[in-house]
Amino acid sequence: MARITLDGVAHSYQTDSAETTYALRRLDHVWRQGRAYALLGPSGCGKTTLLNIISGLITPSSGRILFDDKDVTALPTEKRNIAQVFQFPVIYDTMTVAQNLAFPLKNRGVERGAIERRVREIAELLDLTKDLGRPARGLTADAKQKISLGRGLVRPDVAAVLFDEPLTVIDPSLKWELRSKLKAVHRALDVLMIYVTHDQIEALTFADEVVVMKDGRVLQIATPGQLFDEPDHTFVGYFIGSPGMNLVEAEVDGATARVAGQTIQLARRYPKPPAGSSVRLGFRPDYARLSSEGVLKVQVQKIDDLGRRRLARVKLGPHEIFATVPNDAPINDGMANLAIKPERLFVYVNDERVAGEPS
């Protein structure tokens, strides 16, 4: 049980390279005991690198890692009390399920009675009790993945459980089940869990806090709700949510913005952006609807009925965006008005959200 602190951690796989090509750029963060985190981002964004730095499989090029107050940067994996579950289930073919679960304890010289008790406890927790005597190799992928997890949890002193896309090879129909098992284990053991995935649904349902990464950079660390409602970065905006956030180029002057020749009032005042920077307005389709109250004129291209809601693909000047269509949406000759919830309309300068001041 521990708190893990990353202090200025960065990593590059090449020995001499510029900061921009780092697999993981400088990061300070405290992972709190008992929380569930998800590292979310596209392939190659550095999330696995970050995970391996925490587990000790990679030594970072710079920075320190602290478990509670102890510096473990130089410690090898086996001395770190970390459990890791990999993309492909790792089991020891020649052993039974029980022997698999007992293996980490046996290697650490734990006394036999204690091993047996602990294996039984963990098997109970993971619903593996009836399989304990069976050889591990014949089992299904999800059972094998549970064994991998069990081998991590079996050590009572484990500081954190790290998951590296653990559901990749699991049958889709069992994914949901295994994920809720993970959540249940998390609640039962009150252990720090860090979960790497590129699947936003997995991340948002599993984690208390999601770390969104891209190109080796952490863009935002927030709860799923915050990521949705207040994305700090345009990438977070369109990576999370389906469809993602609408982003349109605009000119912002104080509390007004001009988009495709039309003017819209903003809820806050914004400082003048530096010359040559890209300025965009961002708003989610969920907070933009076709309504007579709207001030922006849009041309409706297509309306999709998604069952729970209707979604329109509309054109705002040259920009193609999505908006919600209420039942009574007035559409005349393919034209409609677009209303955006003011507090959910954000200004992004060079992809970063600008806070602005109350006007």
Binding site: I82, F86, F88, P104, N107, R151
Partner: protein, 296 residues
């Protein structure tokens, strides 16, 4: 059921292959069968001998039966010793090879070099290399005060043949094992690290089980090759001293070409062939059966 038309004329497409196999394997084999049931007094006069040759070869109380049994025992001992050395040695070396970088290619090429040398060249190299008076290997051993002479001392002769085979063919085991080891995903090693496994535990619980399949292949190949050994003893020791290194194949050639005992030689070669096939089949069946039972 299938709606596709069945046309037996399609068999004609296989005919060229059948004809080829007939000429390359079946016909020569049948001449051997033909010889094995006949005796000759020379001058191309053959007469029927039935299973006489087979009974003589298989009965250790006869002279030819005794020769056959002795040679067979030598073959089995040789295969056993060679496999006992080559397989563990090959796996051990494969474990020590680097896993990445340009050295990998270099190491593999150096390792594979002996395999690229033809058998009789290997024999000739070692014939000179092992000479007690001028050969580097033989002279060094003699210089160290060891009693070594591969043409006069049976133990030396045996050791030489075994060392040649180990030198020539351990690389095959190395390459197969190395390929098998490379196929093990890094996650296994990382998981083992996290589980606090020792190097030995990693070998026993991860590497060895994952190498099973390639090792079955390696053992099978090496068994077949060592059991059919011919060129090295023929070139280096000529089957001697005495009959210390007279393996089945050497004896066969002596009987067929030296004594022109075609009937006896034919019967012997058929039995030799059957033994090889049977042993390989037993090997293979046992190993695959074990595998299947573990899976069940």
């Amino acid at each position: 059921m299938t709606d596709k038309p069945i046309n037996n004329r399609a068999w004609l497409l296989v005919a060229p292959v059948l004809a080829f196999v007939l000429f390359s394997a079946l016909l020569p084999m049948m001449t051997v069968v033909n010889y094995s049931v006949q005796d000759t007094m020379g001058a191309n006069n053959f007469f029927w001998n039935g299973d006489g040759w087979f009974r003589a070869v298989l009965d250790p109380s006869t002279e030819s039966g005794q020769r056959f049994a002795d040679a067979l025992f030598r073959n089995l001992s040789f295969s056993f010793v060679a496999l006992l050395i080559e397989v563990p040695l090959g796996v051990a070396i494969a474990l020590c090879l680097p896993r990445r970088g340009w050295v990998v290619g270099l190491c593999l090429v150096i390792m594979a070099l002996p395999m690229l040398i033809p058998w009789n060249v290997v024999g000739t190299i070692w014939q000179i290399f092992a000479r007690a008076d001028i050969g580097l290997f033989g002279a060094t051993l003699t210089g160290l005060g060891l009693h070594y002479n591969d043409t006069q001392d049976p133990v030396s002769a045996w050791c030489t043949i075994v060392v040649i085979d180990v030198w020539h063919w351990t690389p095959l085991v190395i390459l197969l094992s190395y390929a098998g080891l490379r196929a093990i995903s890094d996650a296994y090693y990382q998981a083992a690290k996290i589980d606090g496994a020792s190097r030995w535990a990693v070998f026993v619980n991860i590497e060895l089980p994952k190498l099973r399949k390639v090792l079955v292949l390696a053992i099978l190949l090496r068994f077949m090759q060592t059991f059919m050994i011919y060129t090295e003893p023929f070139v280096v020791t000529g089957g001697g001293p005495g009959s210390a290194t007279t393996f089945l194949s050497i004896d066969l050639v002596k009987i067929a070409l030296g004594q022109v005992d075609l009937g006896a030689a034919a019967a012997m070669s058929l039995i030799y062939n059957l033994i090889t096939i049977t042993l390989c089949w037993i090997f293979y069946t046992i190993m695959t059966q074990l595998d299947r039972r573990r899976d069940a």
